[in-house]
């Protein structure tokens, strides 16, 4: 046996061993999860269990839409766009104004029109922000862009929260003010009762739109020319320049798509909960969605989806078991997952180039 054969066989053994333990690990984790779910069903009953599952999926869908944008921008530009939660807020407010206008003028299919317009407007804002704030920092250290993203986030929140009566003319027409606004009912609320489980038509719509947008996004990234260019930019920016790919254009488009997803999430969020609290409303959903994206493996689109549903469902169950736990549980899960899988559930480890 030569040295090479020896090392190969050892390598193979290690590989199979790793695979085996992984498999065992998954079985182990699944058994633990199933055991807890079983305990839950025993103490709360199957009806409550199913209802909470529906609640969790609904919550997860909102997180998923925001997380998709986060993960997409990160995957291509390697920038954590902290302003994403605020673009989510912007989308919700645009939908509020459009929705009121359409309802006042008796439009049909107003929800779909509002959704598309809001996505388009917010995408414009997202692309503008990218051009003004992030483009000058493209080949600068990544930390600079990260801090800028935080700055943009704080600016958007606090600018739109200004009271219109306190600021001069051209600006007071733009800001939303810190008021509390009831969101127009673009779709009338209907509750269906399936064997004791209440399902709301808006919740179903949330889930459907999330799935559609995710498939659409997967299609764009994997099957179209623009998607190919995006993946190329994600792979190696300098090589793209040499191949004649306009990386500025591609990155701007990426921001546009990511931001429009945030706007879709904002519109659905506002429609589901029926109110806009203040221009600060994007902070918490944005943070949760960011955690979900990291949990699923930031940069991975199915990962963002999976992470969001894991978060939504576990948060709901944790809240149901003890309502003080709900918020903390998201962070506990994040920490546990990152200890065992530092790249997230579906993330791949890529070596940092030094």
């Amino acid at each position: 046996m030569t040295k090479k054969q020896l090392s190969d066989s050892i390598n193979n053994n290690i590989l199979t061993y790793n695979k085996l333990t992984n498999w065992k690990k998954y079985v182990f984790i699944s058994v633990i999860i199933l055991f807890f779910l079983f305990l839950y069903v025993l103490s709360f009953g199957i009806k409550v269990f199913l209802q909470q599952l529906v609640n969790g999926i609904q919550l997860g869908s909102i997180y998923a839409l925001i997380a998709l944008g986060y993960t997409m921008v990160y995957g291509i530009v390697k920038l954590i766009n902290f302003a994403h939660g605020d673009l989510f807020m912007f989308g919700a407010y645009i939908s509020y104004f459009l929705g009121n206008y359409f309802i006042a003028h008796n439009f049909h299919y107003s929800f779909i029109i509002v959704l598309i317009f809001s996505m388009a407007f917010t995408a414009l804002l997202g692309m503008t922000i990218e051009r003004i704030a992030y483009k000058p920092l493209r080949f600068k250290p990544r930390l600079a862009a990260l801090i800028t993203a935080l700055g943009v986030s704080l600016f958007l929140e606090n600018f739109f929260a200004l009271s219109p009566e306190n600021i001069p003319f051209p600006l007071n027409k733009i800001v939303f003010g810190p008021r509390f606004l009831p969101f127009p009912a673009l779709i009338s609320d209907k509750t269906y009762n399936l064997a004791g489980i209440s399902i709301n038509n808006i919740k179903i719509l949330n889930i459907i739109i999330t799935v559609i947008l995710m498939i659409l996004l997967q299609y764009i990234v994997k099957k179209t020319m623009i998607g190919k260019a995006m993946r190329a930019v994600a792979f190696h920016k300098d090589a793209c320049l040499m191949m004649g790919i306009n990386i500025n254009k591609i990155i701007t488009i990426t921001f546009g798509i990511g931001t429009s997803l945030a706007a879709a999430a904002g519109t659905l969020f506002a429609l589901t909960y029926g109110q806009l609290q203040s221009p600060y409303l994007g902070i918490w959903p944005g943070l949760k969605a960011f955690i979900a994206a990291v949990l699923g493996g930031i940069g991975s689109i199915p990962g963002a989806m999976l992470g969001s549903y894991v978060m939504g469902i576990s948060e709901t169950f944790a809240t149901s078991i003890n309502s003080n736990f709900g918020y903390g549980i998201a962070f506990v899960i994040l920490i546990v997952v990152l200890i065992f899988k530092p790249a997230g559930l579906l993330g791949k480890f890529t070596k940092e180039k030094v």
């Binding site: 029926g274 203040s278 948060e315 149901s320």
Partner: protein, 379 residues
Amino acid sequence: MNKKLLILLILVCFLFSVSVASAKLVKIGGVACLTGGAATYGASTKNGCLLAFKAVNAEGGVDIGGTKYLINYIFEDDQGSAEVAANAFRKLIDQDEVVAIIGSVMSKCTLAGAPIAQDAGVPVISPTSTNAQVTLTGDYIFRACFIDPFQGAVVANFSYNDLKAKTAAVIFDNGNDYTKGIAEVFRESFEKLGGKVVAYESFTDEDKTTDFSAQLTNIKAANPEVIFLDAYYSAAALEAKQARALGITVPFVGPDGWDSAEFPKLGGEAVEGGHFCTHYSAEDPRPIAQNFVKKYTETYGQTPDALAALAYDAALILIDSLQRAGSTDGAAIRDAIFATNLECVSGQIIFDENRNPIKKAAVLKVENGKFVFVKFVQP
């Protein structure tokens, strides 16, 4: 010629400055939330205070020790956050050197600001902070409203005796001293009456939570006869809507946090028929109340809510006390406030040994998007 003109000018300036200085100012601070989930509270509070102060200023000012003082009302927004409130109190006391403060709205904000005022010896009248701890901070801290133990007991009594509910569920904000205090008292009083609290659910901070379906599903499974939505109007409206969407049909009751004109708009169908306990009713027939409702409606174009009424009351108490104290010294004002016996919009105000007013509560009902008076409850 030029010199003479200059002297004349200086003389005119001097005269003018004397005439300005002759109208003395007394600075009164105001703190409330104009931003966030309870923004209408702050607006109502500010409007209520301004109404009282403007009326006094129009009559030439408040008479303190024989001199007329105009009231200069300096307002700070605390954004419904305890940290910002503490800074606002500090700014008013150190920078503006106010003689007294009316504020803040939320119990958590007043609890954050009160120790600062207590240390500086500046009297504080909170119009609406109902948490029992607020005035226990020290002898400079007063309030114009009843306290949570009383409020919780009123709601529990009403649910048990008038709504004939034997089982109740509570959902409250665990990050807020106000809702937490009421929830505890409600549970205690309801069980003392012979009822049973079958679900006691909480959530963390209404600014961070918008989805209550997990808690409400638990409540639905517990099958109560009444649900106590212990939160400010924005969160309560969300809870009510989500509860109805989950197929919960039992009636809701609430604390004075529901008292905002926005509440029926946000809650819509879901909050119809809900009862809540508050400080005053616009249908109170006493002349002082009717007069206030008329003046407020003329000035701001809307019926005053309880927060406006309490802010107005707090301002009345302060003006009255300044006159009786005869000085702008903190300790003198404090003693004068403590000795208050004044008829206000929300009732006759006399302070007990913990600086809480002893007065009645009103129960209102949401009907066709409006608040309808049901009954008064005496302490």
